[in-house]
Symmetry: D2
Subunit: 384 residues, 4 copies
């Protein structure tokens, strides 16, 4: 009989967006069981959330400190094994460090931290912990993003020359943070969100896609961050030029004021032998373009898919997957690692998952972009 | 604390396609708990399936008769409350009737039955049972199919004149049933599938879409069923002309030999004031076309959506849903009904679900189409 | 120095839709020169049209009889060589026969005739005339329709099993013929249009696409024609089941009351080794679907195109062609034939064009569909 | 009787790409007549080209100087009235100036000049000439690009905040200029192409789209030009950050090494009240996205189109237009201006055409981008 992984959640109370996604993703394959939570800093809301999720009040904790302490004294077969962190950004590192030190595995929503210094400290803890640390870069969970990565890694496109990646949304076109919109509130507040709103919330997704899909690192960037909505305290829009170590060039656009857009996430990569593109709006298709033969569409679960991509499909081709399934692929990979008593799975293996290295890169990206955007220097190197 | 609905499953053992979908759909919103099953007629496979699903061997039953008997003597707070039927078609009615008579609610995969006579007998049992009976017409669970239904019901398109619906697949292009393909094996075997392969498997989906989205009934049809693969015992392809009571005309194409197609499901409806279309391949968009203003795209969860469609969304617009989510909407509606101690929810309410009437219509459709296709008469009326 | 083909036009006066298309198509490659016309039965309008087109009044004739007579006495190097017929349908055959008998080549808009008897008589005249007769089935002029034909002819899809073709428009959703709409007026008037409005106007395009692309003939059909707009004298909507000689099945939908549609023309063909589809709304792409390798998109002018399709491209891939270019491909093919003193070019050659055989098939289709639709017999064979 | 505008062409001999486009565009509406040409610096090729185009040898000139001199002494009713310049870039200004000074109107392909100094000198001549000067920025001729411009000009999107424009091709992915590819040869040769290959060939199209559609000027830019193909003498790839005077931000990507791309031209514009996008690959649709109502698609010639966009359509909605038609819209506008004895038509009028101002802006853009790309300064202002 399969044993489910018992997890506790920090954050994600009633009305949270990302908390419910994590729970649905964990539930999808039947490998996880939510056993406790510190769902909210508001004690009433925390208790309500726990009740709504079918948890006993005894395992609804007022905060993560209490949770870690209380769980530690439970019998080993009841105690949580893994902490899922879906709080605003300011708690990502404190909770991660406390959980890892207390011996729990950690799944944390992105970004990994508020600052580069903070994430480096966390990386040290991860390395010393002998515990698993996973960072949910959602889009890397899509089967056809994996197919794109595999294709480039095996050289189908030849030497990569150009990468254009974007993530455009419209939900922050108006100052909704002033109208009590909870999600907008903390994301535009430096105390909860960090140094950047737009880059921390969606720019890191685009950055991760660019580095992850190509297997290459951005060496230098030139950034233009803007705050279009009057009175907003953090940026809501970014255009960035990218230079990769091999001479490839690219652009990254991340914006939350693209009025009318939902989640316009896409990546286009061009090598000297072919090009590919993927867009979240048709997430089940990977477009391949060639100089000397017809364009191809590799379909999720369809012929031509790599084993790595097929491992991320739950349904036969033509039965559509979505965001939760992409998210769930990270949870499935984490479950697979734990089943084999592994605490990491390198990219390239079947069912790998993003870890702390991706987190460090993202914070290095954010800080470099901010510094560059505020200065007059053309290029700034990313060091991580 | 929320109480989960305890369900038992008949069919759906390891390697089953639709069983895993039902389980994922039931799990998605956290409202159901699988407590027992008669997963396979092969006892070993049944036990393995149960173990893989985390069930104790004691609640893995050899068949549905044993399951109904054994569960009946369990304490009320452990006993299953609902039976999910995901067997081949030949067992749909026997299990449904036995379960309803034993006092359980039923969720059954389509088609409801093998024959019209059989489904009529079941309908009588449903009516007398005071128990809920739900039939999972998947596509009706998609939010934008619901939006289409709402738009037509409120008259946006005016009087409906033309409906073209199709469901094209390619998976039965070759005689894979002869190579031990389990899904193909039973679907092409009259003893397990019924009178028709193509209509029973996918034609009923198209038929249900046509009647459900328009709120109109097909009055007469003229059908051309074919078996393209040599040696196959049932049809694998159908083209059908439709006439509706109000004078509207239409076509229904269902085919399993459309080589290279995954699940090309779509519906186009035209009234005297506008037209709409929906396709599973872009399931989050409802296209609206007008004679005197620009085309519109209503997006899942986006502005312009009706409350009924919004009730079928789990995520903000732009976070993509798929097949499991559509399926899960039926489970969510069933859970909602049971929470209110209702055994049915009429179409038009928030969170309705398809019931036995849809099942009767579909079998009437299949039998009428078969008789017509075999004869020389142009039109045959559907009586149900 | 290249000699341009001198042509006269019958019909196509100011305000005509199709006349201006023919002129633009003829002009596109610089192979034709309009030298005279009988543009309108209204003498004033005819003279105005000629003036607007830069023709001297002397070569603006009151009718085709006068045109044929007057041109006959002009010097051979000024006299028209070819007659383009863009009148309402009732004049197609009389003008064609008179022109052919007077020794002129003919390019005629579809349909070729009002009735099957009439087109058969014309076919005899064509055969005896030693003159070229071309029928402008526009869609066959699109490069990617030619690519589809080539692919099927060379067996890429294997044995064809299913063909679904459609042409849906919305422009006749309202009785605009009663409001003085010229195009709608004659098309819905049996005296000018013939036995059918919808089939004669657009159904024949769909029928021609089906037979032309597959290289197969429809053997029998079962039709349902309807007139949805009250008071209209001819049909405006049709759904038809098709049976081909080799056992392939299909549907043809042609409708002018699909409110909000512009020209939704598409064809889907499935064989036992693959499928393809083409849609006018993305006319530069031919979609190929395979059971065992990724989908392909052959692009107009791009890699993988056949020589026959490339011969229909004017621009490098990525510079978009449209309706006029498709039309112009017929004119180019006619010019090519005349340059080689050929009066026909069989389908399959580079730069063939549709001729009288396609015209006969279309009228046989219309009459068979009408008879079938009016009767109770399931299937009617098309004899031509 | 309509008088056609007599034009002579400089460049555009047999095998030229853009020369044949200009001729087809001029021919499309029947307003122009090609009367002479200096088609090639190769005398034989020039004579052959003239013959193929149906011109007498006497009006096939060895070069533009000879053409201007010879035409000047022809009778006024035979002499050309307008010079069309389709040479490589190095001759654009010399021919333009000579033609204007000789009293001819000029239609010139983009870019207007090799350098900013050169185009400024030309601008002076244009201003003093009392002759019409038109610059064929093709994409501005598309009806739905005009619709985009109109929508933004009238404020539908509110204050513009973000503009992303791109033009990606793959045809220069390999060093085809070394294999005798004529088009690639001169475009990558500074002596014929100017300071930049990628920006001069396609970057200026993207830049013009950005400024033209928004009606706003780029104030400053930060550019990263690259040469990816070894041995190439000019750039083949560019990523550029844009800042507009009102605070709007943007990116411009132009690349000729995007392997497998044909002409991926698109623009996305976002204001504080809505967003729009247009792509050449679906040139007949303008996508409009709104925060509070469904997305809209305005279709070429369809409901909701502005008079300005409708004036650029030749066919009813659903009959597809393409590249030649877009090009022809500039020729039609020039013909309209000349018919009214106007030498310019401001943007915003029905049937305006791009003129010398657009040419000056483009060269200012190229020189600023080059200087910035070569330096370490973040931002460079465009002065023109």
């Amino acid at each position: 009989m399969m044993k489910k992984i018992r997890y506790g959640m920090v954050g994600g109370g009633t009305g949270s967006f990302i908390g419910s996604i994590h729970r649905a993703a964990a539930a999808l394959d039947g490998c996880y069981e939510l056993v406790c939570g510190a769902f909210s800093s508001d004690r009433e809301r925390g208790l309500e959330s726990a009740a709504a999720l079918g948890l006993p009040a005894a395992r609804s904790y007022p905060d993560y400190v209490a949770m870690l302490a209380a769980e530690a004294v439970l019998p080993a077969d009841q105690r949580m094994e893994l902490v899922v962190i879906v709080t605003p950004n300011h708690l990502h590192v404190p909770v991660s460090i406390a959980a890892l030190r207390a011996g729990y595995h950690v799944v944390c929503d992105k970004p990994a931290a508020m600052t580069l210094a903070e994430v480096r400290a966390l990386a040290d803890v991860v390395r010393d912990s002998n515990r698993l640390y996973a960072l949910t870069y959602t889009y890397a969970g899509y089967p056809m993003v994996e197919e794109a990565r595999v294709r480039i890694a095996r050289g189908d496109l030849g030497t990569i020359r150009r990468i254009d990646v974007r993530y455009r949304q419209g939900w922050l076109s108006d100052p909704i943070e002033k109208d009590g919109h909870r999600q907008a509130g903390w994301r535009t507040d430096p105390a909860y969100s960090g140094l950047s709103c737009c880059l921390g919330d969606i720019g890191v997704h685009a950055f991760h896609l660019a580095e992850h899909v190509t297997g290459m690192q951005v060496q230098a960037l030139s950034a233009d961050l803007a705050t279009h909505v009057a009175g907003r305290r953090l940026d809501d829009d970014a255009g960035i030029l990218l230079r990769f170590a091999n001479g490839a060039r690219g652009t990254l656009v991340a914006s939350q004021i693209c009025c009318g857009e939902e989640n316009d996430v896409s990546i286009h990569v061009y090598g000297d032998r072919g090009g590919l593109s993927w867009s979240q709006n048709d997430n089940e298709s990977l477009m391949l373009k060639w100089p000397n033969r017809p364009q191809e569409i590799v379909r999720m679960g369809g012929p031509g898919s790599s084993p790595q991509a097929l491992a991320r499909c739950r349904l036969p081709a033509g039965h559509h997957n979505g965001y939760i399934e992409a998210f769930a692929n990270h949870y499935r990979a984490v479950a697979g690692a734990l089943a084999q008593q592994a605490i990491s799975v390198p990219v390239g293996e079947i069912n790998w998952f993003p870890g702390i290295e991706a987190g460090v890169r993202s914070l290095a990206f954010i800080e470099t972009a901010l510094a560059n955007s505020n200065g007059n220097q053309k290029w700034s190197e990313i060091e991580s």
